[in-house]
């Protein structure tokens, strides 16, 4: 676990073609400073997994506008302020995979927990389950869902200690704890980094084992 001095240091080494998990639900919990650093870092041809496809012109929307994203995997791209994504999508310049929100979370949870695949009742009989393996278990229909693993996760948290233990704040927690388990390299943007021992172990949400780099921003 490294406490980085700068966001540039925190996102160093990202390779073209990476799959990047980006936390946040709308702007709540979105690690905007890390995304800005990723834009400066220059990695392109990215697959981005995030609940939404950018809001306004900052954060994920700015990454999309910079032309770095080949494919979006998300549950809810279309919003009142998703004009950057909307334009790219209508121009055929970005791929989209729509995943039900709970499946998005559970598929990342599976990746982080070493689960090979799982049967889920969400989406049975809908266009989003077309072509998927299906099984009836105890009289109910389920669809086979595969894990989503990231090369990199960029998440926002409230506070970290120098061991990488994280706590979040209110609904900004959203995808952070799940994404933190599901990527090879996990980077957390936090409001403050505190000394080891300053976070009560009982309230740690993401244990430091999952976290590779933290940066205060």
């Amino acid at each position: 676990m490294i406490v980085c001095e700068t966001t540039d240091e925190a996102v160093a080494g990202v390779e073209d073609g990476s799959t990047v998990l980006i936390g946040g639900f709308g702007m709540a919990g979105m690690p905007v400073a890390l995304i800005d650093a990723l834009i400066r870092q220059g990695a392109t041809d990215l697959t981005v997994v995030s609940n939404n496809a950018g809001n306004g012109d900052t954060g994920l929307a700015a990454l999309l506008a910079a032309g770095r994203v080949r494919k979006m995997v998300c549950s809810f791209p279309r919003q009142s302020d998703s004009w950057v994504f909307d334009g790219l999508y209508r121009a055929g310049e970005i791929e989209l995979e729509v995943v039900p929100q709970g499946n998005l979370a559970e598929r990342m949870r599976a990746a982080g927990a070493g689960i090979g695949a799982f049967f889920c009742p969400t989406g049975v009989g809908t266009p989003l389950a077309e072509g998927r393996e299906e099984r009836e278990i105890d009289g109910r229909r389920y669809v086979l869902e595969h894990p989503i693993k990231g090369d990199l996760a960029l998440i926002g948290a409230h506070r970290a200690d120098r061991a990488g233990n994280l706590v979040y704040r209110k609904t900004a927690r959203n995808f952070g704890p799940v994404m933190a388990t599901a990527a090879t390299t996990v980077v957390a943007q936090v409001r403050e980094v505190v000394d080891i021992g300053a976070i009560d172990p009982e309230v740690v949400v993401t244990p430091g084992i999952y976290v590779d780099r933290v940066v205060a921003a």
């Binding site: 709540a28 809810f76 995943v99 990342m108 809908t126 979040y168 209110k170 799940v178």
Partner: protein, 210 residues
Amino acid sequence: MTLSKDEMAALVARDIPDGSFVNLGIGQPTTVADHLRPGSGVVLHTENGMLGMGPAAVGDQVDPDLTNAGKIPVTELPGASYFHHADSFAMMRGGHLDVCVLGAFQVSATGDLANWHTGAADAIPAVGGAMDLAIGAKQVLVMMTLFAKDGTPKLVPECTYPLTGLACVDRVYTDHAVFDLGPDGAVVTETFGITYDELADQLEVPLRRT
């Protein structure tokens, strides 16, 4: 008289049992919260990771870290809790959520739901948590106008819009009537400003009375 949107919301609120854990969908269903009886003990779930959600935040209460599923700033009530997304949706799928209230484009007489995508060529598909909610909550209530703006019924023999879930809707509240749905089709439980026979005339689905 047909019901106003506000009266529909009040009707839904009337039928939610005290002490239920409830998810109110984005848009019109959110207004059901305004009609819950004080002291009902109903706990609101928002799928972005909270139980015990309070009313919309105003003025100094606005906190960018505290929003609902519609990304509107909200407040927390005493006894609230926060959790991550996988837990939030496990609550639904795992059968812990008592009721969810959703809007709809179409509902079939056997409870199929279409509410996420019009299927139009230029529409950007976006599903959010609709499919998870539809199959997860113990009881799925829909509130919608009975007829689309062009006059076509939204309670249909079979949905023509892309489906959100199969046989998942238990009850539909509309401006003209309330319908209980199940494997045997639609049962009219209440009508507003229309007779049962007029209703039967205007819909293509076979109806029964309670």
